[in-house]
Subunit: 426 residues, 2 copies
């Protein structure tokens, strides 16, 4: 009983669907964990204890609901929920409630998921951090913007959580906290009721402690059983991709990628270096341009009517968006389109790429959520990405790599990521 | 004064910015028109008379605001507004209010736009119609889902209005009501605060009585002055495109396209037939598959918690979405990606395509909003489309054509559409 909160979601769901474990009993293990740890980690903006207990009791009293039967879920605080506040980590939305569920939350509930609470986000899922700490070392950032979701899953306060990525908001915090983060192909999970930052980039995804749990979560949510279990028929062909951001990686991160390549090769994978075509070098700047052109316009109501309640750095960044030249925006969009077309060929016969999930381990300090530059290119390219913990840094913080697949190949990407994660054994 | 409501928005904005016309005086012309006509046309779900008057008076008392200074705007009732209800044409949202503006509405206000009211939408911007009638013949549908926006602009109850298109919800009602409809490139106008149906298709756009007015609206909203005025340096090269839906067109529509081609050629354009590549034939079915896979999931909260308040036909259609096979969804998405890549070559050296905006004139009856099949392919391809009135049917209803451009070429598409509209002279 004491270790129920460390069961995998997959195992727990199986036991609950066989009625060997009650949803309320399982939920209480996480509520106890939250009681013990939340004061230090600060992952939650709101814990919906009573709502979650009521949902769990209802599940115990009724029929087995679906693939997520009884699984507690942490919800990033930019996803609307009819029964809990949605405050987006911003004074603009302090005390804000909505009458409806985000579509993917309604879908998760229908599949038997139990919404446990709202997890801390940076302000409006952009860059100004909020109170969450890295559970591995409390003085280090958990990453962001999905800070609370990554930290809560890492600390076993919830087995599953939702996130969104516009720049690097799923993969980076997953890497910093040592959990699995899954950013699906753009537009796979519906965004209705999830607050936007940049329509052409925003992607809904999930956090879990292993790849099958993440796959189960999305398979259940979307009624898309083919995503689970993530099994690849034979050892994957992996393209080791340093990327044009390689110089930004720490020495430890560089070593992590190289060692992972060798370990996976020993385990039977075909591993070869993949260099991205030359014009991919422009994607990082292009992503920045597209992101801020869009974010500034998307946050118009907040900046215009509530600007005085926003962190000044965010307010100013939004205002700056109107100085981005339309021709730069269009050039960036055109580059992204061209590179999306070119990517399948660049991968050759590789199943997936393996590349750093972040520049290194979580940096010291809580005033920044770290550098998203290893994530921005993939956000712009709309590819599925799965962060997997790959090593530990000298001072005891996780180092993450990401498995990147072709557009729409979520199934293959998850399966390869699971294979990789099992072999790296972190 | 009696004809103020028939001024073009471009002229009115110019006069207002020179202080030759007051925003309140201009607004009152539309309020009078609404008083005279709304009982018959039923374009509005809510008229924000007091809110609009207050905004107009504030504009008259202050500095010139921006490109939209003093222009009244009708807002489709799925766009959130902080000061007027948003009910989505559905009992699910009867009396529903929100605390914030949709991003594009906040941007329009900042540019000086005056939000006049909320226009009638079909239920949740899908297919079940609501009360709006076609101002040309009240027993005919105005089209949908942006029914009220198209009808209100056609009847000069407002000079500008917003809309969204997922299947054919901007271009078709514009054609049926004899106004200009502009569906920009996917993701050009931010969707935050606009209720979603299908993330990979939903596109925000506008209605106006001529192309410069539509271009002014979007240029002002996005702070993107390059879109206005829409001027093409020389007569455009036009690809006359019957499309794979040609058999669905009425004889009158077929004649309209052929005659337009000849008239534009006489006016100096280069006009040549353009056949789309063979695999484009599959796009109509693919669009249907993608749309309903996504709509069913997007409307999850509505169907799960409020299904009894939805029209049964919509509820059932949403449930059906879960029977669409993932492999069919992925095949459809893949076809769309491939055709998006192929389209620029298919256009050759044409600036734009000219193709029917609907199967014919607005059908008799209010129980259906008509057939979107001439729009669905372009919704899936994400291209900019501009509907222009091109002829009148034998029984006095407008017939519309659409000008279709390449992705991101909104500027060229608008300019060519303006050139075409001027030459067709309807």
């Amino acid at each position: 009983m004491a270790d129920l909160h460390r069961l995998s979601a997959t195992q727990a769901a199986e036991r609950m669907s066989r009625r060997e474990l009650g949803a309320e009993v399982y939920l209480r293990a996480f509520l106890e964990r939250i009681d013990a740890r939340e004061q230090e980690v600060r992952a939650f903006a709101y814990v919906g204890r009573e709502q979650a207990l009521a949902a769990a009791r209802k599940l115990d009293a009724g029929a087995v609901q679906g693939m997520l039967h009884g699984l507690p879920i942490g919800v990033k605080d930019i996803f609307e929920t009819f029964d809990m506040p949605t405050q987006g980590g911003s004074q603009v939305y302090a005390g804000h409630t909505t009458t409806h569920d985000a579509a993917c939350i309604a879908l998760a509930r229908r599949a038997g998921g139990v919404i446990l609470g709202k997890t801390v986000t940076t302000e409006l899922a952009t860059f100004p951090p909020n109170e969450t700490r890295n559970p591995h070392k409390l003085a280090h950032t958990p990453g962001g913007s999905s800070s609370g979701s990554a930290a809560a899953v890492a600390d076993h306060m919830v087995p599953l959580a939702t996130g969104t990525q516009t720049l690097g908001s799923i993969i980076r915090p997953a890497a910093f906290c040592g959990v699995v983060g899954y950013k699906p192909t753009y537009n796979l999970i519906p965004r209705k009721g999830v607050w936007a930052d940049a329509d052409s980039l925003d992607t809904v995804g999930v956090f879990a402690n292993n790849v099958p749990d993440a796959a189960l979560f999305v398979a259940g949510m979307l009624s898309y059983p083919g995503l689970f279990p993530p099994v690849i028929p034979s050892a994957p062909r992996i393209g080791l991709c340093r990327s044009y951001q390689w110089d930004r990686a720490s020495d430890e991160m560089k070593t992590t990628l190289e060692q992972a390549g060798r370990a996976l090769e020993r385990a039977g994978a075909r591993v070869q270096a993949v260099d991205l075509p030359p014009r991919f070098e422009g994607l990082l700047v292009a992503q920045q341009t597209v992101a801020w052109w869009e974010i500034g316009r998307t946050l118009a109501d907040e900046t215009i009517r509530h600007g005085h309640k926003m962190r000044p750095a965010l307010y100013e960044r939004c205002e700056y968006a109107f100085q981005v030249k339309p021709e730069d925006y269009h050039r960036s969009v055109a580059l992204a389109r061209a590179c999306r077309q070119e990517l399948p060929d660049a991968l050759g016969d590789c199943d997936v790429l393996l590349t750093p999930a972040a520049t290194g381990a979580a940096p010291f300090g809580l005033e920044s959520t770290g550098d998203p530059s290893f994530n921005q290119v993939w956000s712009l390219l709309h590819t599925p990405c799965v962060a997997v913990p790959a090593a530990m840094s000298a001072d005891g913080l996780p180092l993450g790599l990401q498995v990147v697949g072709r557009l729409d190949e979520d199934r293959r990407t998850l399966a390869a990521a699971h294979w990789v994660h099992q072999r790296l054994g972190v």
